[in-house]
């Protein structure tokens, strides 16, 4: 009997309106843990090949991790997965907050939604009582209004997860929001919820989480707390969140600017963490058991961009700021606020607008296409206006709601070469010509372009000692050099394996990867005292590998091969024009060869070899 979990899985058939409770499948947990791993196993088996992601045949899973709701530092997270309507392959997204811990306290670890409802509904969970309720009066409302109404109806202690209008309107990069401003944003899973007419999940759990080793629990967790607090990254994170990455990334030439034409932005100081902290920060906010508190609570007090709420983080500053050539910081904050309110991924949002801006700059898009909108670089009024138009699919916003890949296919005229995406998902805020590992990670990630699947940050900021610890001294200095492609295949493979384990435990990548404070032996100890599970470090590594290979097979079944593991030509053929990476390209093929070899995948096709699948029990 696994301790430290809710113990039950909810199966909600939205077509029939039926709800079934089944015990957590401990056999799956032994092979795949919980969270991302559990969803990977169940959904790979359930989602048919060749379906429309927005049809009732898609299955949406939401899972907490084995340590979600524990006292481990930053143990707040849940993961959501389905076939992605943006990429048509594996879709997965994660968020922090309190919702996941609340689900555990109500007695559940995972929820699966099959079918689709005819009329809008929401799921209300209060401990053992689980009901599908009419959401007619919630449909059409934004995320904040929905949160307010659910609190009015079900008490102020409930926690909510919801889509806004973007999800209802099937924007292909709609987010699923929770606790108001936490976003499971990538992969467009908000549109899957919208297609199922599922508006929200409201949870109140008054139960308890029983841990495996109650006598030693606090002592062990105190040890983790003290290490996290003593780490020099913690006060830096507390002060700036991720906002000052703008300055740091500009300085290394890794700040995507002007649709990734370059990695430096002359207006970077205006949208910097320093400016946001000085002028707009109200307070840092944390999620369940979080010592890093990178969450920002900010306010613009007057003017056209006045708001108060949770925002921003680095990805939004770069996508809605430098990537669009926009140095108007209040518009960046406000557009982020609107993206939270309507429920959209700020990365794909800003990247899709910046694709349009470059096509405009090149004379491909004209006022005739845009309905008269002037898409000049840095036109902040248009960025804000488009954010609304996309959420409601109005005018030109309807085209951009499809994402840059589909929009470019429709427009044609050479605009395709400005699509900065991998497997139809827009590349996040890491200009890979300035950090080669990020270029490789973007192409190997299971959900299309993604910095988090591997989160290979060990070559970013002087983590030589950690590279030595995790890989061995023989890989220095090359592995720590972000411009050197050497050993990046080894690094990305290892980082992916560890990060999918972290995603299966419900932990944050802050603390496990940057800073790299906690590693396999630490999470193994947490699994012992919290869950009573005695995994060895080697077993956990194998589980990570198994999940990555399973995700790959999900995509292989949908036609993905080495050909799709590719970056836009700009990044592999055009030398970076400015700044510290000037003259650099991403040496992708060289890194991919090393990566496939590490993975045991065929170098020609990028498909896992039979012996690899057999070794991992996937054959």
């Amino acid at each position: 009997m696994i301790k430290g979990v809710g113990g039950e899985v909810l199966w909600v058939n939205l077509t029939k309106g039926s709800i079934e409770k089944r015990p957590l499948d401990e056999g799956i947990v032994k092979q795949y843990l919980l969270g991302a791993g559990y969803l990977s196993r169940v959904l790979t088996d359930m989602i048919p090949v060749g379906i429309d992601p927005l049809s009732p045949k898609n299955v949406l899973g939401i899972a907490t991790g084995l340590l979600t709701g524990s006292m481990f530092p930053q143990a707040s997270r849940h993961v959501i997965a389905a076939l992605s309507p943006l990429t048509d392959i594996w879709g997965e997204s994660h968020a922090a907050g309190f919702w996941g811990a609340e689900l555990k306290l109500a007695g559940y670890d995972v929820i699966f939604f099959t079918g689709a409802s005819h009329d809008p509904v929401y799921l209300n969970i209060r401990d053992s009582e689980v009901d599908l309720l009419d959401a007619e009066d919630l449909w059409g409302r934004d995320v904040f209004e929905t949160d307010d109404l659910l609190h009015e109806r079900h008490g102020r202690r409930c926690r909510t997860l919801a889509i806004g209008q973007a999800g209802e309107n099937l924007v292909r990069y709609a987010a699923i929001m929770n606790d108001r401003d936490r976003a499971s944003a990538r992969s467009g899973l908000g549109a899957v919820m919208g297609s199922k007419k599922l508006k929200a999940i409201c949870v109140r759990g008054t139960g308890k989480i029983e841990v495996a080793d109650p006598d030693n629990y606090l002592r062990v967790m105190d040890g983790f707390y003290n290490r996290m607090l003593a780490n020099p990254f913690t006060p830096e994170r507390a002060r700036y969140g991720t906002t000052n990455l703008v300055e740091l990334m500009h300085n290394i030439g890794r700040l995507p600017s002007y649709n990734m034409r370059q990695g430096v932005f002359e207006g970077y100081m205006k949208i910097s963490g320093e400016v946001i902290t000085e002028r707009y920060l109200v307070k840092p906010r944390a999620d369940w058991s979080c010592l890093q508190r990178c969450g920002r609570y900010t306010a613009v007090r007057r003017g056209p961009y006045a708001y108060e709420g949770g925002s921003p983080e680095f990805e939004s500053q770069s996508s809605l700021g430098s990537r669009c050539g926009n140095d108007n910081v209040e518009s960046v904050l406000y557009a982020h606020h609107l993206a939270n309110k309507y429920g959209m991924d700020t990365i794909s949002l800003g990247a899709t607008i910046s694709w349009a801006m470059e096509a405009w700059d090149e004379g491909i898009l004209t006022a005739e296409d845009t309905g008269g909108l002037d898409l000049s670089w840095g036109n902040h009024e248009v960025i804000v206006r488009l954010t609304e138009m996309i959420a409601f699919r109005e005018g030109f916003g309807d085209l951009l709601a499809e994402g840059s890949y589909r929009a470019a296919r429709r427009i044609g005229r050479g605009s395709e070469r400005f699509v900065m995406a991998v497997k139809k998902q827009e590349i996040a805020g890491q200009e890979p010509r300035a950090q080669k590992s990020m270029g490789l990670a973007a192409v190997t990630a299971a959900r299309g372009a993604d910095h988090l699947y591997a989160f290979p940050v060990l070559d970013e900021a002087g983590f030589d000692d950690d590279i030595k610890k995790r890989f061995g001294e023989q890989y220095l200095p090359e592995m720590a050099d972000r411009l050197n492609p050497k050993y990046k295949g080894i690094m990305v493979k290892e980082c992916e394996d560890y990060m999918v384990v972290v995603e299966s435990l419900g932990l944050c990548k802050y603390g496990t990867q940057i800073p790299p404070e906690f590693y396999y032996e630490d999470v193994a100890e947490a699994l012992r005292v919290h869950n009573g599970l005695a995994f060895t470090v080697e077993e956990l590594r194998t589980i990570g590998e198994r999940i990555v290979n399973l995700n790959r097979m999900f995509n292989v079944a949908r036609g993905v091969t080495r050909r799709d593991d590719n970056l836009p030509e700009r990044l592999t053929k055009e030398p970076a024009p400015l700044g510290p990476p000037k003259g650099q390209i991403v040496e992708l093929d060289e890194m991919l060869d090393e990566y496939y070899e590490q993975r045991g995948w065929d170098p020609e096709t990028g498909v896992p070899r039979d012996e690899t699948l057999e070794r991992l029990g996937l054959k």
Partner: protein, 162 residues
């Protein structure tokens, strides 16, 4: 008798992380469960996180409300619950103006903060601290904290809707 002490929190500093709550339920009941903690944390928008504790009132309405004399004040000024006498009737819960005492659903006994400071020691942001009415008045000389608690009293101490 010593001056009455209590733990108090600043909703502008508190991040809402729940660490105090988890420490409390784990320290006393060896489980994670906010209903088993003697502290509550309530998030109120815009931007406030209130960590809420027993205020150790001088007139202690909880003591007078208890028909079993299960609540007493120790020589150090701490109000404690005698589990052998407590029947879980809930009259103390109704009497407390701060909703700072409630019934543990596992054993049916009243639980409240006894100022042990296990949470205070572990708060990562220093949002909670031990104080007295006199010290708090000096600390809050501009009345910022008093106003915040006053303005939101209806939500903070409302037992319904939990």
């Amino acid at each position: 008798m010593a001056e009455l002490r209590f733990v108090f929190g600043d909703p502008h500093v508190c991040t809402g992380c729940m660490i105090c709550v988890n420490v409390c339920s784990m320290y006393y009941f060896k489980v994670i469960g906010p209903e088993r903690a003697r502290v509550r944390v309530l998030r109120i928008e815009p931007g406030l996180d209130f960590p809420l504790f027993c205020r150790n009132c001088e007139d202690a309405p909880c003591i007078s409300a208890c028909p079993e004399n299960a609540l007493t004040r120790t020589s150090k000024g701490v109000i404690i619950v005698n589990n052998r006498l407590c029947t879980g009737c809930g009259l103390c819960v109704d009497a407390c103006p701060y909703y700072a005492i409630h019934i543990n659903p596992d054993n049916g006994k009243a639980i409240k903060c006894i100022q042990c400071e296990e949470c205070v020691r572990r708060c990562p942001v220093g949002a909670i601290w031990m104080t007295t009415e006199r010290e708090l008045a000096a600390h809050d000389s501009d009345g910022r904290l008093a106003r915040l608690y006053e303005e939101h009293a209806a939500e903070l101490y409302d037992r319904r809707g939990d």
